[in-house]
């Protein structure tokens, strides 16, 4: 148990791998999972004499994220070379930004506080080393070399794992809505380094910080933060110093290991990249991007509650994915039944997604089809049980629900002529029940409805049956 009270101070360095079609400095594809070294060229393999040419889409993604995080966009930004020797980088320098990054001084609102963003810069990813232990050799796959990254550096404004995760969720949601990255921690398209220090509660002086790497899930981040906080407090209370160093988190073991200390930290000999002219970002370019910014999650959720009268809880869930939100809104508009639509989405759709293990992004059904079905239910053309079956088909294969229902005979019987025959039969078969009803036993009515449904094999529209029965019963009276 710690003797004193401590505050935790946390800042984050987040790398976002952009989902542009091509790499940052050449025309090679960026698709994940291709055969090693099939998406390479002289530029991304650092061949002598080759030169980088900046992909404009990367700058646009950075500007868009900068605007979304309330950052200042540099009107003139430059690239710099970061020099270090490592085999995953064929030219032994990484093209990055140090002196004039593309965005600065932003912030993100989380829960009840604002986390400041120090800067945001563009850079290239390195290749991947593959170690063949059996053969005793190492191989390099350059497919990832030159894949664009944006690094977002926060100020040390967070204090708890919950705040860290809220910040990351917010950032992730912005990227997803902007469509610039899929932000998957497990696949490495979002990488988080946690800078953490502790100080005595209330003290103004910051403690020595460490940098934690290899955090592959939100759970791992939370565990690593707890463990690192404990480790630093233990050291301080046992009279040892916290060493400024980079540590590697082992999530299976639940401990971290020192990778390198500040003393043997490298001198990257940064200098302005002479092969890429300064990037001038004019007001028009920025305005154009600003005008194309999507409606982000929170505004969208608020509008859904307001405009469609759905519960805030539903709106929050439905806007977790921009795609899901669009599907909802389109379906709600087409059906004219937003609340019913929300119910279908919150209940059936989310259940189906969960069962199939799919992401909302993978949904391909057309809102028209979903809306047609929801309207059919409302109009009594299909009963609830059958509607669920058809809905699953719409989601799975985007079938047109009306013709599907017809082909499969799933339409409700609402034709009074056809139903009258069934009603007549039932009334004739159960005279004693009819008597009971007439003598005031209202609850037997349900039994009669059930019998009609049975005769029509469940296809009868319950509303129509109700009406018909009541009319007939009163006539007999």
């Amino acid at each position: 148990m710690a003797k004193k009270q401590y505050d935790t101070v946390i800042g984050l360095e987040v790398h976002i791998e952009l989902s542009t079609e091509t790499k940052i400095f050449c025309g090679c594809a960026t698709k994940f999972g291709a055969m090693p070294n099939t998406q390479t060229c002289p530029v991304c393999t650092g061949m002598p004499g080759s030169l980088p040419v900046l992909n404009k889409k990367v700058v646009e993604a950075a500007i868009a994220l900068g605007l979304a995080t309330n950052s200042r966009i540099s009107r003139r930004t430059i690239f710099d070379r970061k020099n270090y020797f490592y085999p995953d980088n064929p030219q032994n320098y990484q093209i990055s930004q140090l002196y004039v990054p593309v965005c600065r001084d932003g912030f993100l609102e989380i829960e009840n506080k604002s986390v400041r963003i120090h800067e945001m810069h563009m850079e290239e990813d390195a290749g991947k080393l593959v170690h063949d232990e059996a053969a005793g050799i190492s191989l390099v796959d350059y497919n990832r070399s030159g894949v664009p990254l944006i690094e977002i550096v926060s100020e040390p404004d967070m204090e708890t794992a919950e705040e860290v995760i809220a910040y990351l969720e917010k950032l992730r949601m912005l990227c997803l809505y902007l469509g610039i990255s899929d932000c998957k921690l497990q696949e490495g398209s979002m990488r988080v380094d946690v800078n953490l220090s502790v100080k005595e509660a209330g003290s103004e002086t910051l403690g020595t910080r460490t940098e934690m790497k290899n955090l592959n899930s939100f759970k791992a981040i939370a565990r690593a933060i707890a463990a690192e906080r404990e480790r630093q407090i233990m050291r301080i209370e046992s009279g040892q110093e916290v060493v400024q160093e980079t540590r590697r988190w082992d999530d299976a073991e639940g401990v971290s290991y020192s990778m390198r200390s500040k003393e043997d930290s490298k001198d990257y000999r940064y200098f302005p990249e002479p092969d890429i002219p300064p990037v001038l970002i004019g007001r028009e370019w920025i305005d154009g991007i600003r005008n194309r910014q999507p409606e982000f999650k929170e505004e969208k959720a608020a509008r859904f509650t307001e405009e469609y009268g759905i519960p805030a809880y539903d709106a929050d869930i439905l806007t977790q994915s921009r795609h899901l939100a669009t599907l909802f809104e389109e379906t709600a508009k087409r059906s004219g039944l937003p609340k019913k639509t929300a119910n279908w989405f919150m209940g059936e759709l989310l259940r189906l997604l969960k069962e199939s293990g799919k992401e909302p992004e993978e949904l391909t059904f057309s809102p028209k089809h979903a809306a047609d079905l929801i309207v059919a239910v409302e109009e009594g053309k299909i009963n609830q049980a059958n509607a669920k079956e058809v809905f699953a088909k719409v989601v799975e294969a985007d079938v047109a629900p009306l013709s599907y229902m017809e082909q499969r005979g799933l339409m409700s019987l609402s034709d009074e002529g056809v139903l009258q025959a069934a009603v007549d039969e039932v009334l004739a078969e159960y005279p004693e029940i009819v008597e009971e009803y007439r003598s005031g036993k209202d609850k037997v009515f349900g039994f009669l409805v059930g019998q009609v449904m049975k005769k029509t094999k469940g296809k009868a529209d319950p509303g129509t049956v109700n009406g018909l029965l009541r009319k007939n019963l009163s006539r007999f009276a």
């Binding site: 085999p87 064929p90 001198d267 000999r269 200098f271």
Partner: protein, 497 residues
């Protein structure tokens, strides 16, 4: 030798009109090569593998009209730091002894598209670092005018090959004078275009912010024809500029027109370039050129350009800093010589780089790494950038009043072998006349203007405003006309080949 008396345009005309076949042209030059190369040593690689096929292709292309341009059928030599697909490109270094590029440099692509024929790759100072071609890891190249003298550098092989009549044209690269200085030492014409005029894609980088590929020929017109072939925007090099390159369209102005263009043209001669450090004979030759221009209607005025003395220091800091980064890819992993017997990755790096690079290259990598290191960056690199900006501004001021700046290309003529490398600092100072041009990104041309007592050529440098190559050509052609025909090394009977 008739073939080498004519201009390259005339040569191409003869080939296109079938008066001369591609094969006859190449054969004649190959005989020259066979005869001279053993002594001269201008080439590192002769393009024998691809040559037969290429000659065929060009001959057919000329017949079909695919190659109809002013240089169709003309053979050329390429400096060995410009990538040629399938043809070894060593940069004069042990490091890249076996490097065969998988792609063509943009300039090479343009030469091929124009129907030119690459005869081979020429010797150079290792990674273009040197002024004598003596830092080449492979061989010495001799000066065709005097075999005990260097050809200059780093494009020494290209200039010597043109001067010796082995090829009519060659490409070099100029980072601090590497085209102009050897052109001056070998008595040929060499141009360093404006930074951004010619694509660097495929040029193995030395100092990226100053490197520029330049043409070398026997006359200004030849040089210009090659410039027009390779210059212009390239989407693969973000530092190239989208500006029209004026084409001379086959019209070769006559003598009167050339001299006429000089009338009223304003030349500035900075007195600092003709001071103590410049040898008397060089000074006299340049003054002779000044008089000639003055007498023929040009305005020649002496000015002061004092910043020149800081140019060498700024140049070496920036060039070495960039080089230290550019050359880091040669580590034995993917590129460059890999040393045997290393136990660890670090050891492999150290051994490969220690064994693969020569002394001068290592010296510049060390200098550059130091200049960029933490705590020294501001004092060296940033200060050098400030000097660079001041130099650019000083040049801008001059060009408010003048069309050209006129200086010697080098303070001396070609030194004897084994003298320059003894004192690196002294060698660096010899670059004083050329490096400021690279720092400012300006175009400059070297034209022969005299021969010293030892029979070695002297070069006149004309510096133009950015993207004013047109003015430079006019000035250089006018001067060339006034000067009269410059002898060739072989006519002088000076080459003891």
């Amino acid at each position: 030798m008739e073939l080498l008396q004519m201009s390259v345009r005339a040569m191409s005309e003869k080939i296109k009109s079938k008066a001369l076949s591609v094969k006859e042209t190449v054969d004649a030059l190959q005989m020259k090569l066979a005869e001279k190369e053993p002594m001269l040593g201008a080439f590192l690689t002769i393009n024998d593998m691809q040559l037969e096929q290429r000659m065929d292709e060009v001959q057919k292309g000329i017949r079909s009209g695919r190659y109809a341009g002013p240089l169709a059928g003309v053979p050329i030599a390429i400096k060995d730091n410009i990538c040629t697909k399938g043809l070894r490109t060593t940069c004069g270094s042990r490091m890249l002894e076996r490097f065969v590029p998988a792609y063509d440099a943009t300039v090479v692509q343009r030469l091929q598209d124009a129907g030119m024929i690459i005869l081979g790759k020429t010797n150079m100072d290792e990674f273009a670092m040197g002024s004598t071609t003596e830092t080449s890891a492979f061989r010495l190249t001799k000066n065709p005018w005097n075999m005990s003298h260097v050809p200059g550098g780093s494009s020494g092989g290209s200039c010597a090959a043109v001067a010796a009549g082995e090829v009519p044209l060659a490409l070099g690269s100029d980072t601090g004078g590497s085209v102009r200085q050897p052109a001056a030492f070998c008595g040929v014409v060499g141009l360093k275009p404006t930074y951004g005029r010619v694509s660097r894609y495929g040029l193995v980088a030395y100092a990226s912010s100053m490197d520029q590929i330049g043409p070398i020929g026997r006359t200004v017109a030849d040089c210009r024809a090659l410039y027009e072939c390779v210059a212009g925007y390239d989407e693969k090099d973000a530092t190239t500029v989208k500006r029209e390159v004026t084409k001379s369209l086959g019209h070769e102005p006559n003598v009167e027109e050339r001299i006429e263009k000089l009338k009223g043209m304003r030349f500035a001669v900075p007195k600092e370039y003709l001071g103590e450090g410049t040898r008397e004979e060089v000074r006299e030759a340049v003054k002779g050129a000044m008089k000639l221009l003055d007498r023929n209607g040009a305005v020649v005025e002496e000015i002061s350009l004092p910043l020149a003395e800081y140019a060498v220091a700024a140049y070496y800091i920036i060039a070495c800093a960039e080089a230290s980064s550019n050359l880091s890819r040669f580590d034995g992993v993917k590129y460059g010589y890999r040393a045997e017997g290393a136990e660890t990755l670090h050891e492999m790096y150290v051994k490969s780089r220690s064994e693969g690079f020569g002394e001068e290259v290592k010296r510049r990598i060390l200098l550059g790494s130091f200049a960029l290191s933490e705590g020294y960056y501001d004092a060296y690199y940033l200060k050098a950038l400030k000097v660079r900006r001041l130099i650019r501004e000083a040049f801008d001021k001059v060009f408010e009043n003048y069309d050209c700046i006129l200086t010697p290309t080098a303070p001396t003529t070609a030194p004897k072998f084994g003298t320059a490398l003894k004192d690196p600092l002294l060698m660096y100072l010899q670059d004083a006349d050329t490096v400021a041009v690279n720092l400012a990104g300006l175009p400059a041309i070297s034209v022969p203007c005299g021969i010293d007592a030892e029979g070695l050529p002297i070069g006149l440098q004309l510096i133009g405003n950015a993207f004013c190559e047109e003015t430079l050509f006019a000035a250089a052609e006018g001067y060339e006309e006034l000067r009269g025909k410059f002898p060739t090394a072989w006519e002088q009977g000076r080459e003891r080949l």
